[in-house]
């Protein structure tokens, strides 16, 4: 998918999934960080598990993307900012619950 404006559609699907998973629910985030109700943690672990299995399959089966190229997973490099930025992000996450 090359045209930038087309990305509004996968964005809508992602936004729908995130909100249906309650990843926009302040109260539920607080209950998770206070270890009172771990619903969001289980949701996240299921998401990570399903993503790990399906991504591994996608790479093993050498499936190609819509444009016919082999799927290339990319990740961010680890550096000092990962930890420091992550902690600052975490403070904001706990304050805003979103």
């Amino acid at each position: 998918m090359k045209k930038p404006y087309l990305y509004i559609f996968p964005g809508m699907i992602f936004g729908l999934f995130l909100s249906k998973a309650e990843f926009s629910n302040y109260d539920l985030f607080m209950e998770m960080f206070l270890f009172n109700d771990l619903r969001l943690l289980w949701t996240m672990l299921v998401a990570i598990g399903v993503a790990t299995v399906s991504m591994t399959l996608l790479k093993r089966l050498k499936l190609t993307s819509l444009s016919g190229e082999p799927v290339q997973a990319k990740t961010k490099p680890l550096h000092r900012g990962t930890l420091i930025g992550g902690l600052i992000f975490g403070l904001g996450w706990g304050m805003s619950g979103a």
Binding site: I13, S19, E22, D27, L45, V46, S65, M95
Partner: protein, 170 residues
Amino acid sequence: MDIINFLTDPWPWWFAGAMVGLFLPFFYYLANRPLGVSTGYGNFCKIVVPHTKLEALNTKAYKEIFTWRVFFIIGIILGAAVPKILSGDFSLITEFAKFNSTVTASIPLSGLWFLTGGILLGLGSRIGHGCTSAHTINGIPNFASSGFVASASFFAGAILITNIIYRLIF
């Protein structure tokens, strides 16, 4: 469960989690690029200051302003809001149950609290080169060490501030 309830009510946690998980390979199939949201915030900054000389806003990701990320973020907001609007359930809220029943801050003060939280989210995700999408949803399933470190520090920061507020102060 009819289609209206399906779009307006939260989904069972295991189903919603599986859908979020499946979105990752779906997105690689469509776009063949890693899922990421927070880099796009820089694109929105550039809409406001298009001619900035700031080095951080002149990297490869920001050569053009209206990249896929801008539309992806607009889509996320629409995808979450449209079902609510269609069902007539949409309203702008000025309080969150747990925050307002515990902290009992006035609206300007709680606004300042959430604004500060948002600024820290933006700042941290740029220093750490990613948010929960890039690090937790894309990083961990692709076995990136940065994904594990970032996700652990996200939780450390959030658990710290939440317990200070709700267990120590209030």
